[in-house]
Symmetry: C2
Subunit: 140 residues, 2 copies
DNA sequence: CCTGTTACTTGAGTGAATCAAGGATCATTG
DNA sequence: CAATGATCCTTGATTCACTCAAGTAACAGG
């Protein structure tokens, strides 16, 4: 399991809760992925393939090196969850798409990753709106 | 940079903001660590050494294998940020402690990781309390 | 065409994480 | 007190994420 991204000492309660939230969220994400024998990175990429798209687009969106995506997509391809087809418009490029099995695994993953849904579900609609507004303001 | 732990499609705005928060938080943590040439895991371990403690205690708290801690502490030791002293009470055990340089780097790290402070700082005291209450409720 | 740029891959290297196995020490108990 | 088992940590092997540098192939503009 990935080590938490958090300080021990926080200067306010709000910061402490923020840290706890991030930690629990990350662990839940990892656990949901592990349940399907996926790494968090694999689950992440798989989840961004609702439409077929190029490797570069993935790298841009995820803010990482293209070669990182090459590697992750290669593993997903080996697992039979993804295909890498040539792009007829540009023969340098590849179009990555989920296979039916990839669709199913991705669906099972989104079902398994209940944390955000559950957490939000503990709040009333009004409270959800308040939380959204507060977090938006906090994010600047 | 680590890939985000988040779904693309969210069923509510609150979930989407939650995901964004986690993503921004994680990236900020990683960036602050990188600024000091530390990995997130190294920064994490270093931050939990306000008092000297055993390897096992670290592994327990961080929820990972003991050998993982061995590895990370070894690197921190190489960097001169940490010492591994024998435990006089139990010669199997080692006591890990920050060196003065470790203290300094850790202090610089907590200064560099401004995200949580800044985010909370954008809220009024009342709003901070509201956020704390809402997140506590959401966490269950 | 020729040049430069773009899209992706490959290879090398670091580090996190897990598992299995082992050494040393403690703690218990027959 | 000696044997047994548990505990603390390390080592070694493996997988994967991530980054950087370098390379190939194909596009796009002059």
């Amino acid at each position: 399991m990935a080590l938490p991204n958090g300080p021990v000492t926080t200067s306010s309660e709000a910061e402490a809760v923020l840290f706890e939230l991030v930690d629990v969220y990350d662990r839940a994400y990892e656990a949901a992925a592990a349940q399907l024998s996926l790494s968090p990175a694999q689950a992440c990429v798989l989840g961004r393939l609702d439409e077929r798209r190029g490797m570069g687009a993935l790298a841009d969106e995820l803010g990482c090196d293209a070669s990182n995506i090459t590697q992750i997509v290669a593993r997903l391809e080996t697992l039979g969850l993804v295909t890498r087809e040539p792009n007829p418009q540009d023969r340098r490029a590849r179009l990555v798409a989920r296979t039916p099995r990839g669709d199913e695994i991705n669906h099972r993953f989104t079902t398994a990753f209940t944390f955000a849904r559950t957490a939000v579900g503990r709040l009333s609609p009004d409270e959800q709106d308040q939380l959204t507004a507060l977090l938006r303001k906090a994010l600047g």
